[in-house]
């Protein structure tokens, strides 16, 4: 059975496993206060060109989103997000559990448009009853988006400008950040992102780690984030397990190497499917491909390859999502192409 249903189906880069094995019986300090975590943070600060960044390692993406967002928002504020944003639909209400509303705005190809945010916030403050409404307190975007699309540097700058205009922090969910940075044609670098966002996370789970997300506050924003992590059940006792993974990922470009493999295999798949005449719901330059497939073909694929159902397209077609990863091989892709 071929498997393309997600980008977190494999373990981790061998270097990570090796390092974990090598230090397995060394006695380490707990709760992320160890030297390996420090080393990893230094490397990330350097990669971001943000020497004063505050970095925390969390276990997963929903957890990172929930803890970061509730640590930033005031009680009466909500977070602006595209309606397709992960926090709006696929985190089981984690943001609301933290007491905050997700203020959703219709997406454009999975993206949040600066103009739409500006319009939303302007209308909010023009509403004479706004003190009875959830205040827009920050902006959430994902990059790549849930639709596989990417912001351009210009788009991110525009979002930054709107955030500045209304004094809202900008938060970027980088669950698949590597695949965004490695995509062909992107003009956004990690340094750009660190320069334009207040806080973002570098996703490890989907880009070569066993698990783990590195939350980067590009400047000091939150008092007591460490204790808030503990309170949220988001502090790993053996914190060095996260440190080791990011320390390896940010050594010799391992993070980007994995990401590049995901992109290379995704582009091979995209080209192959295009050659076969398939159309795509979004023009994704990243590791998720959203392909319009006839229902008969889908029946035929059953039991041979796994994928995600994205949505019905029309009576005769569905959109399927195929995801590659740091571990996908050209052979996998070619086998899939043979089936399609």
């Amino acid at each position: 059975m071929l498997r393309f249903n997600s980008d977190y189906m494999e373990g981790a880069h061998q270097q990570i496993l090796d390092r974990l094995g090598a230090i397995n019986l060394e006695k380490m300090t707990g709760y992320g206060l160890d030297e390996i975590c420090e080393s990893a943070k230094k490397k990330i600060r350097r990669a971001c060109n943000k020497p004063d960044a505050e970095i925390y390692f969390l276990v997963g993406g929903t957890q990172a989103n929930a803890v970061v967002i509730r640590s930033i928002l005031k009680l009466y504020e909500g977070v602006i997000a595209a309606d397709t944003g992960h926090i709006n639909g696929h985190e089981a209400g984690a943001i609301e559990y933290g007491g905050h509303k997700v203020l959703s705005i219709p997406n454009r190809g999975g993206k949040l448009c600066a103009e739409a945010v500006d319009k939303y916030v302007r209308a909010f403050y023009e509403d004479r009853s706004y003190t009875h409404m959830v205040n827009p307190g920050m902006v959430y975007i994902s990059h790549p988006t849930e639709c596989g699309t990417l912001y351009t540097k210009e788009e991110l700058k525009q979002l930054r400008a709107v955030c500045d205009k209304y004094n809202m922090p900008l938060y970027l969910d980088g669950a698949r950040l590597g695949y965004g940075l490695a995509a062909e044609g992107t003009d956004l670098t990690l340094e750009d992102i660190a320069g334009l966002c207040d806080v973002f996370y570098i996703g490890g789970t989907k880009v070569g780690a066993l698990f783990g997300e590195a939350v980067v506050f590009t400047h000091h924003m939150v008092e007591g984030f460490y204790t808030i992590m503990k309170q949220s059940g988001a502090m790993l006792a053996k914190g060095w397990l996260l440190g080791v993974q990011f320390d390896e990922l940010f050594t010799d470009g391992l993070y980007m190497k994995g990401a590049e493999n995901g992109i290379k295999t995704a582009m091979r798949l995209k080209a192959g499917l295009g050659d076969k005449g398939y159309s795509f719901l979004f023009d994704s330059p990243t590791n998720q491909q959203f392909v319009i497939v006839g229902n008969d073909k889908i029946a035929e694929l059953d039991g041979k390859v796994t994928f995600s159902f994205w949505e019905p397209y029309d009576d005769a077609h569905h959109v399927l999502r195929f995801a590659t990863s740091w571990a996908t091989t050209d052979e996998d892709v070619d086998a899939l192409l043979t089936l399609m």
Copy 2:
């Protein structure tokens, strides 16, 4: 200055003030455990034809919505509402503060359509990742809606059927319930509502009381609601103040008399404005009228009458909301018509 900006600008029916005055120095039992509250509950049960209804008196509408909804939903559930629903936009995130997402669906004239709810919930359970999503746990409607419109008995039955299909309680926000029951042409009675909803509240604040909403659980649904009220800061120490008001409102039809006055004056206003050639955003049979008014005229009204800005209509017009109440006089309406 004429004032039509809301329906809670006056105190209460004189009978209520008189009764409060009459018992002022009687020593009463606190927290709603007094005999007047019991009397009021009996009258409401009778009016609803629900002898086993459990009734609680709360102080205000946002409070009632927040406490009822969080008392019913399971942790991982949200409440379905029209996007125009009061809980979705004008309660400052009270539902989210309780930990739950408002699952908003586009309204039709302020109403939630049974078919749209059915489609939403069906799609939810067809989504293979629904265990990662907020489960639809109950349905919220307001009657009259925030747009002044009304459900028909047939529409409410259809919503009930969808709720039954998916095992979701149906909750009706009756902040302006009296004006709905008194509207010309409605075929929905209080008894119908009690028969079709699991829980609803009879709004006092906007329909003749100083304050107060009577929450009616038509059958036993929630353990510990009384303690949840206390925990929510929603238990009035001198609970009899609420009991007195509802006891009076449900004596000799006082509640409906006030509501009928609101409707009579609203219809006078609607007819008068129609005669003058004004158009309306919604065809409202209740006490809120949404009138399309030219910006020049609006400027002219400034300082002479108060109203609510609803929304811009086009470059030259805005929609204004004029509200009547149990206390509005024909003279007020005629004076307004003269200005328009």
Copy 3:
């Protein structure tokens, strides 16, 4: 039946009812934005000698405590209180519902001792794992306490000093504040309290109003408190009902007149019981008296007078609480003394 079980068994001063009657049909601005609220706030600011105080009117005490405390604390902080503090035992977990722990410290006669707070906080910061613990973020006291006792000016200054030392706001729950200010022998004035606390509330419900508590922030502390009130279901639509009550209470010393009556009748009761040989659990100079009564006598009182059971004293006695109020008469007290 005589009734001494609480201090919120009667309505309100006649002046309040009269004023409510007088303005009943005047059309008022909602949500506390009216001129009467402004007038009441001015009078309170003057009485407190705090021209810049920010004042909000809420409906009840649990509500006030819950909204104030959650508006002040950071996510990872808790509120220090005496174990007998109202928020610790009798508010059904309202503080925890807001996400915060009550850090309880053993009381001394119902009071929180500055030395005990200092010791607690010092030990907290000396604990090497304090970043894994709830941080002490503010101090809650009630005055009079739940035991009827009072802080001296010196005690309050000491608490203030500890709060300053650890940068914690000091919050005073004044549900019965009037009775504290009117007590014989107290050296604490309203101005002192306003000078020493960051925030406190002046209780109306128990001291002559139908309902209502005036929260006084003695300096600017919280962004968006108004919206937080709305979100908490704590904003009264007809906010002027609260304004009217406090405007009357702070006209011609009405608040203190009511309080003085509560004290006068309580002292009459205390003296009378003392003459009859009764002992008291606490030496209370305020309107609550905690009397040790034999079980036989308690059985005898049954059906003749109501009171609160405070706690068992020994096998043969219970502690009963008798409360007077602004509305208690000498005749009531004398009738009770005859029974005892």
Copy 4:
């Protein structure tokens, strides 16, 4: 430097690392829905003799406690715990973040005494104002306790009886469960615990796993626990990482072998220290030893061995906690004994 400051300073059993390595590039189903998780659950059910147990794998102990407790309690309920209970002091308010109060009762040697729980709950329901108070909704114990002590089977049965009497679920925090089961002289088996508790967790983090706790509901109790996990940020994307660890731990007795090593080395330490004349704060049969050490000696140890400061004992002594683990060697212990 010797290190005895905690029992989570090492990675995991080599078998676990090997298995992770072996399946590293196999494509697995996410979110704990894979076959290895199923296998691990079967083994745990068998070890517990509870064929219908519902088992979930979570990442850490605070997370497990927070998610389990909030999934069980009704809104107006709190959890009874010893004042020394981990949830009461060392989880940064995670339970309160979930909206619930920890109802703490003075411990006896770290344990919660059935008689004390009975007394607490009886007094609660005898209090006439209990509907204004946090209802006791479940009982939390840890085994071994935070003081290293153990419940006997008789004590656990008594707690179960009190829980049955008041219809409260019994929850056991087994962060160090292995060390409790392996302790000399204990009469409580895993099967006993599964028979007497409603829900408990088998701690992996401190007993041989990299991380992970297996929550065992011994019967069906909670709707939607899986979605609540997601909402809480407590669902691991690569859930099989947890499954693998527990599958290995419950193969060939690996879990108990690790635990036995922790006990053996702790007893060696305890005996050695006793021989040297040291006293202990608690008589702990488990892997944590609480030793009373003179301040001069403590100064001498500085830089040679790490430990935890438990609390000051008197002016001249502190209580130090030394913890052994599945990975501690006799050589480590002997080296420590030489220093003492």
